[in-house]
């Protein structure tokens, strides 16, 4: 059944929804990447909530003009209009008053959402128009999606995707270093507005499938997930696009085989599960990797400290140190060094002495930045430099044992 859903064999509507959701996921993931890198993820929450009054007003207007009131294009235009006003309110509140951006977001988000709910409630009392289904824009509703709806979503998503790709360099320059970007002639406020406009477009395009409350998840979870896997903007963009696309695809397919499951929330849950997997298991930045790295670092520090203590004939009190030394065959249970341990201890002490000398001399200043108590100096300096260090160590203080 799932296989059939994934291979578009579950009928016309399911196929439309799955294709639309996949494309929306890719476009949202890529667009959200710059929002995330610019550290303005929450603005998208305000934008999406600010669409609601526009949806209601557009419906009322279309009905008043004798139309059906449910044309997706009309509702999208209305939602874009009110989202844009919300966006301008946030930027004016932040720039013209002493309110910080988070407070402005909170105010705009709740007020616009409140106005929207008032409109929706009013619409329920209207006798004209077929108002049923308008609240589907809150959480998305894909039942009864039309071919024309799917085309609008596909074209809109693709257009936003192309725009983001065209602007990727200035947008990443502004996200990394806005001052430098401004100094090189980029118009930072305008680029921020372009980014927000693209986010708004994605929100409007996604209203039908995931709804305005959950679109934030599709903008933010993919880039956050992608950040675990890449150390470059291009890499994050690719992975975010893939995570978003797979979420849309798998989520829509899952909700197609279990019609009781709503599409939007399932898509969000699929992307969350990818986030959770990355959070724990990503190789460089994941939680598990961090714990393992910390444990291995702690062990190496203990062994090093133990070896230095052995070399200087000091007693070892810490149980972990002693256990690690014993397990490595470097010391006996009573803390006395084995012959292997003595050799390693002497080497550790010599290494440490060389490091101390290197760190006290200006000519080794760059190498000294590599000192972490663990790195062997041979891996940083050349043989000649070490000979020079040994000469410096030997010269002023007489011969060392």
């Amino acid at each position: 059944m799932l296989w059939q859903a994934l291979t578009f064999q579950l009928g016309y509507n399911a196929t439309l929804v799955t294709l639309g959701a996949t494309l929306l996921g890719v476009a949202a993931g890529v667009t959200g990447t710059f929002l995330f890198l610019r550290k303005r993820a929450l603005v998208s929450d305000a934008i999406s909530h600010a669409t609601l009054p526009g949806v209601g007003l557009a419906f009322i207007l279309m009905v008043a003009m004798g139309g059906d009131g449910r044309s997706l294009l009309g509702l999208m235009l209305g939602s874009a209009g009110s989202a844009w006003i919300g966006l301008l309110c946030i930027s004016a509140l932040t720039r013209r008053t002493r309110l910080a951006e988070d407070a402005a977001i909170g105010a705009v988000l709740s007020v616009f959402f409140g106005i929207g709910i008032v409109f929706l409630t009013f619409i329920q009392t209207m006798s004209e128009g077929r108002q049923a289904g308008l609240e589907g824009f809150l959480l998305g509703s894909t039942a009864g999606m039309l071919y024309s709806d799917a085309v609008i979503i596909a074209v809109g998503g693709a257009a936003v995707l192309l725009a983001v790709i065209a602007f990727r360099r200035p947008l990443s320059a502004v996200a990394f270093d806005p001052e430098f970007a401004a100094s090189s002639g980029l118009n930072v406020p305008r680029l921020d507005l372009i980014m927000m406009g693209l986010v708004m477009a994605i929100t409007v395009v996604g209203l039908k499938i995931v709804g305005l409350i959950l679109i934030v998840a599709l903008l933010i979870i993919p880039p956050v997930t992608a950040r675990f896997w890449s150390e470059r903007v291009t890499g994050v963009l690719w992975v975010a696009g893939i995570v978003g696309g797979v979420s849309g695809y798998v989520g829509a397919a899952l909700s197609a085989i279990a019609p009781a499951l709503p599409t939007g929330p399932v898509i969000v849950l699929v992307s969350f599960s990818m986030f959770a997997l990355s959070l724990f298991f990503a190789p460089a930045r994941g939680v598990l990797a961090a714990v393992l790295k910390h444990l291995s670092f702690q062990r190496r520090v203990h062994v090093r400290q133990g070896l230095l203590a052995l070399a200087q004939g000091q007693p070892i009190y810490e149980k972990l140190t002693l256990r690690l030394l014993r397990r490595a065959g470097l010391a006996r249970a009573d803390g006395v060094a084995t012959s292997d341990g003595k050799a390693r201890a002497a080497k550790a002490l010599r290494d440490e002495t060389r490091w101390q000398m290197a760190r006290s001399r200006e000519e080794f200043a760059l190498a000294a930045t590599f000192y972490d108590g663990l790195t062997e100096i041979e891996t940083v300096l050349t043989g000649d430099q070490i000979t020079e260090l040994d000469r410096l160590i030997g010269a002023p203080k007489g011969v060392r044992p």
Binding site: L37, K39, A166, F167, R169, P170, S172, A173, A175, F176, D177, E179, F180, A182, S183, S184, G185, L186, R227, S230, E231, R232, V233, G235, V236, E362, A365, L366, A368, T369
Partner: protein, 267 residues
């Protein structure tokens, strides 16, 4: 080299020649809220000179640079670069912001940061080619960071981060270099590497302006000084403007007289 000597010895008459100056700031006032951080400041940087902007903490040094570049909008005043408005002279300006002003956990590698210096040249749709990468690598070599090209920027030490920022400015291939505290919190080797690059730029006829904190190195590193404490205190060659009197005026009681005598010339 004679051109440089001419420029510095004529320092006091530079005001008449604002049009030829690498950077000319006129009646600049910048304010955060109601309190001006920079008030009615004039500054003239002769082409081919190397100028230190000095003054106490909060004196408006960085603010002056940012306002001249148009990074922040001044309340009043204007800046010209080689006689043109700054907007028309972007290609001739390179800027090194303070290291602490960016998030070093940003997903980018050292080479990518240097390539950002070429974005203006590339435009929106220009393709990044091999020649651009070669140029970026050359800039990294000039600051001694070529072995770090593939590193994630978060793995760098403070001094290495500063060198990468300088390499990005070099990639801009400009004539006027504006640096905001390039020596703050860097190791001795980095300080030497940076000053070598800056003096190399001046030897090529470029102009360097740096916000600077360490008074003891001013006479060694720079040939001109601009002293600011919200208003302009003094401006001119090191001999003219870097004296115990001007320093006393700029720093007030915040420097002990003994310290002034040691660092300033003509004590």
């Amino acid at each position: 080299m004679t051109a440089i000597e001419l420029a510095t010895s004529n320092g006091t008459r530079m005001d008449d020649r604002g049009a030829d100056a690498a950077l000319a700031i006129r009646s600049m006032t910048v304010s955060y809220g109601q309190k001006p951080a920079v008030f009615s400041v004039d500054m003239t940087v002769p082409s081919g000179s190397m100028t230190a902007i000095i003054g106490p903490n909060g004196a408006g040094k960085s603010t002056l640079l940012k306002a001249a570049l148009g990074v922040i909008k001044p309340l009043a005043g204007s800046a010209t670069v080689y006689g043109q408005p700054v907007e028309n002279a972007r290609a001739r300006i390179a800027y090194v912001p303070q290291r602490a002003s960016v998030d070093w956990d940003f997903p980018t590698r050292v080479l990518d940061v240097v390539l950002m210096g070429l974005y203006r040249e590339l435009g929106l749709l220009g393709r990044l080619r091999g020649t651009h990468k070669t140029r970026a690598m050359e800039c990294l070599e000039r600051v001694g960071m070529q072995d770090f090209a593939k590193r994630q920027i978060g793995q760098l030490s403070g001094g290495q981060q500063q060198r990468v920022f300088l390499a990005r400015a070099l990639a801009q291939n400009a004539e006027l270099y504006l640096l905001d505290e390039p020596f703050a919190g860097v190791d001795a080797a980095t300080e030497k590497a940076i000053i070598d690059v800056l003096q190399g730029l001046r030897a090529d006829g470029k102009t360097v302006v740096a916000v600077h904190h360490d008074l003891s190195t001013v006479p060694d590193y720079f040939d001109r000084v601009f002293l600011i404490n919200t208003t302009r205190i003094a401006e001119g060659t090191v001999e003219e403007a870097f004296t115990p009197q001007t320093l006393q005026e700029a720093y007030g009681g915040r420097l002990a007289m003994g310290q002034l005598g040691q660092t300033a010339l003509g004590a």
